[in-house]
Symmetry: C3
Subunit: 162 residues, 3 copies
């Protein structure tokens, strides 16, 4: 990377696919990028759901197990709240509360992240286990990488696990 | 800030309002402050509940949605365990186990944090979305700030997301 | 510690005992150690379960409360998935998916961590509260320490809370 040495860096491991934690991750990421930091978001495990192309529940993968998991996990619009989820009612209510107060909603935050040049990386191993291919994911995904690559690129960064 | 350059810094994002995670956050925070580190705790989302003035469940906010959320979330004495909560029985049992072994309980840790000069900051955006005002929170809250301010002040700190 | 100053360090607080989060913790840890980093894993609270000697559910501790908690929490082979756990079926399915794709399973990751020289530390306070003794834990546990010791040893490390 050819960055000036004083460029501040933040790397976020997006492990949880919870709606509220994803909002937190993207809020920190976009806030950091807007204040001139270099930001990488590394999506793994449940977090991969936020990167799926199709918005609804789709049974991605070849094996039955992978298909069941991927169907149950859904995509960006099916992320549950980490608490008081009430079978998906709460993320919808929460989105209403965010709109009412002119706070960016989750899809708006994802768009903003892309516009601000935040690097979006999908975890190779998680894709492998859950049988999610690059073609199953949104175009904003710039890289597929393993944990060692992620750590190397985050050496001088704050690493935040969400 | 006029700190000596070698002062060690730790910033904790208290996102989760789970009883056990709050105990962990305050244990790390007070342990760090007691060993001469500068500590900031940034409370956001579910974490805001730990800062609410009234101890019981109170329906704070103007809109029906915010009132329902705030009622359900409760305050410092209603924080659930992240696992095996059993409708609130476990945090009470856990507090008993902590007392039995002379470990500081959660309210004692909050008090200690204040006494040790730990900076307690409430997240502006979360207060806005959940319609929690400064007057709804305990006096120990020193600042209301956004994520950019938090990141700027945490530049040389360990950032821990709990 | 007599490490070369340029040795990269990573410290992971293993707070959650969730199966998926433990896989993430050990994957980051072994990936970091394999690329020549010095890694410490600090196990506290639910995370302690991953260190218990007996593989099944055992009622460790003296008080009834501690015994109930320890029984319910189980050990390394009873860790639940943080979502879609389905009473323990999912971690078993997930292990099948990992094996199928030749990804190291959790017990293999623990073994690899030990072989790679990762330092495994158990949290003194959590052992105290939950009444888990050193003899209840696997031999790979090298140290029992408090949070202040952990922070001191992690001063130049990335601290990741999982």
């Amino acid at each position: 990377m050819n960055l000036p040495a004083d460029k501040k860096k933040i790397s976020i491991v997006c492990f949880s696919g919870d709606f509220d934690k994803m909002v937190a991750a993207f809020t920190i990421a976009t806030g950091a990028a807007a204040t001139n930091r270099e930001v990488t978001m590394f999506f793994t495990f449940w977090g991969l759901n936020a990167l799926k192309k199709k918005k609804g529940r789709v049974a991605t993968g070849n094996s039955i197990m992978a298909r069941v998991f991927n169907f149950l996990m859904g995509g960006l619009n099916n992320l549950p709240l980490s608490r008081l989820n009430f079978f998906g009612a709460s993320p919808i209510l929460m989105t209403g509360m965010m709109k009412k107060h002119n706070v960016a909603t989750l899809p708006e935050l994802v768009e903003a992240a892309h516009a601000l040049g935040i690097r979006i990386v999908a975890c190779e191993m998680a894709m492998h286990i859950l049988e999610v291919g690059k073609s199953d994911m949104i175009e904003e995904v710039q890289d597929v990488a393993g944990v060692a690559t992620f750590l190397n690129e985050s050496e001088n960064a704050h690493i935040i696990f969400i």
